[in-house]
Symmetry: C2
Subunit: 360 residues, 2 copies
DNA sequence: AATTTAAATGTGTTCGCACACACTTTTTTT
DNA sequence: AAAAAAAGTGTGTGCGAACACATTTAAATT
């Protein structure tokens, strides 16, 4: 309400103490008598004092080091987007004294992960942002970091143990549920539908299971019992096997009308269908990777659900900054929207610039 | 690259002048010899100097007044969202010295608009943010503001005359095109489709025409010539007429399978269809208004295209701030994404909090 | 009661920049 | 050539907060 913002100085005046004392109260530095402390605190509350963040950042010349522990995108291009988001966030936040160090590991090598995680720990950062792809191996680090009181934020994969500061990502279950809706909307008449897990070990990937569950539940909750849903795991490392496996499914399922690809590899299915000249099967997949976009634009992939990996990187660093720099409370769970992408609205999601731009 | 950021002081040192001179160069305040000016400018470039925005905002105690000229949401609840976005932006940006004054007018009264626009002009703001709903009446103001060198940003309705600083909104044509896709995807077999303009004078609303065009072009560009597309204008001010008009259309079009509502009034159609127990007609509409959400959740409206009105308000103020405070170049056109909303992903678009939070 | 120690509080400098003002040099006017 | 005006340049203070350090006051020790 008050137009003029109240300063530390004003509080000091009202409390009849010096600004130094107010400062001590604000930062819980101790060395203040209880009586004065309460008096000051009351005034701070009454006056709705809000610290001037710019003055604060200016005054304390502190630099907060955040370590980002993410898969190297050279092994899987999916990880390029989070990296870009992280860098964008750093760009935006560096004026507030945030500095991000990137530690990239080979997502197919446990040793590489451990090595980089060790480096992270050794760098003694103020906060850690990571995608904990190796469940078992990351736990000891969680414990270590907790003991050292280093907050860590997770993205992409959710692990609730050792209470991370926050998790950034999507609601996998709901995204599967949404995929169900999209398939169903496009195929109003009962048919067969395939859930395809491509290129990932289900056992290791809880989120794939959740997607599958959500998808199936869409049909059961809506009493669409006549739809026949089957699932398969595919791996394109062996191309011949990949193809023949699909051939088998197609052959044995004449009424197959939709495929839900739970990973970012929808383009593999698209490529196959194109080669086989199959046009009546609709594909729903994930992520705006170039090969996916190619088939989206060709109309072979109907929809992609955007997991907004860049946004995950961006908001992760953001959350840590909120916590470290601005001492804000941060939500334990931050779900990014389930963007439905089709050929016709794709453009507006590629120019990510507009989706961030941040401030205080 | 350089870890240490270069300060005005460093530049002064290198150029062998005082910081005052550098300051003059940076702000084009004149009173600097051409020779020195160029020397300083070169160093600024070479060193990639970037002003510390916090120090800047702190140092110059200037307050930028932005006037927001928007329809009063009491007349049409659509306008509540932009208002909220504006206020959110003000909240985020006030620490940079931005203050927003709101001027609400009755969107059904030209006089009210002129009265408020006059007030805006009289308040002599540093920038103006408005939705120019009255084309003819706003032009003289544009001219006046241009002469006074007050930048103005438009939203919701685009008017290119008198070159506004920027336009924030959606690509109406493309949104119609997208709606075409959504209807078509849900109705793979040829049928009749209705375009309904509800509660707005088409003659005044260029964006409705564009939506219609985009919608039609989706079908023609994809050679879907067997689809029969008709259009109608409806007005619910006379409820009986509204109903009977729809009755007529339904009766004369037995194969009607989809309705595209170009305004935010899809719920009116939904209500009608529900009353008539018609379930096979799919509705696509705009905007996340409560009545629309009600029918979205009931499954009577299939999809809503989110025009992100809150985002429009937010980014509009943001753009003006970029221009005024940060002296950035701002895009003349800023299209917000065409978000496809369905019952299953709605939740993530309602919690708008996460879509902004801005920074520098 | 004098002295030491600890607790409580106050003061001054710094952060990077903006802006007002003072000062110096050059140019113009008379 | 002296005086006035204009152009060019430097200095100092303030913005709001952080933090180190100085100072005062109270409690503990002798």
């Amino acid at each position: 309400m008050d137009n003029k913002s109240v300063r530390i100085k004003d509080i000091a005046l009202k409390a009849k103490v010096s600004i130094g004392t107010v400062d001590r109260v604000i930062h819980n530095r101790g060395r203040v008598s209880e009586k004065v402390r309460e008096r000051v605190l009351k005034i701070i509350n009454d006056t709705n004092y809000e610290p001037n963040l710019m003055a604060r950042a200016l005054g304390s010349n502190k630099i907060y080091n955040i370590a980002a522990l993410i898969p190297d995108h050279h092994y899987d291009s999916y990880w390029l987007a989070p990296k870009l988001g992280i860098e964008k966030a750093e760009q935006d936040l560096k004026q507030f004294g945030v500095s991000v160090g990137e530690f990239a590991f080979n997502p197919f090598s446990v040793e590489s992960f451990i090595e980089q995680a060790d480096k992270v720990t050794a760098s003694n950062p103020d906060g850690i942002f990571l995608s904990p792809v190796f469940y078992r191996e990351v736990l000891p680090f969680f414990e270590k970091w907790r003991n050292q009181n280093i907050p860590f934020v997770l993205f992409n994969t959710q692990i609730a143990e050792f209470d991370p500061l926050s998790y950034i990502g999507q609601d996998s279950y709901q995204s599967g549920f949404l995929a169900g809706k999209l398939i169903h909307y496009g195929q109003p008449n009962p048919c067969s539908i395939l859930i395809a897990h491509i290129d990932e070990e289900i056992s290791n990937a809880a989120h794939l299971i959740k997607k599958e569950q959500g998808f199936k539940n869409y049909f059961s909750q809506n009493h669409l019992t006549q739809y026949h849903i089957q699932k398969t795991e595919l791996n394109r490392s062996n191309f011949a096997a990949f193809t023949s496996q699909l051939d088998g499914i197609i052959e044995s399922t004449p009424d197959l009308a939709g495929i839900f690809v739970t990973t970012s590899k929808a383009h593999e299915i698209a490529k196959y269908l194109e080669q086989r000249f199959i046009k009546h099967i609709k594909i729903i997949g994930y992520d705006l990777l170039p090969p996916n976009l190619y088939f989206l634009n060709k109309g072979i992939i109907s929809f992609l659900i955007n997991q907004n990996p860049k946004g995950q990187g961006y908001w992760g660093i953001h959350q840590l900054t909120d916590y470290l720099v601005f001492k804000k409370e941060v939500p334990i769970l931050k779900y990014l929207p389930l963007d439905i992408i089709t050929k016709e609205n794709l453009n507006y999601y590629l120019d990510e610039e507009s989706r961030f731009t941040d401030f205080r």
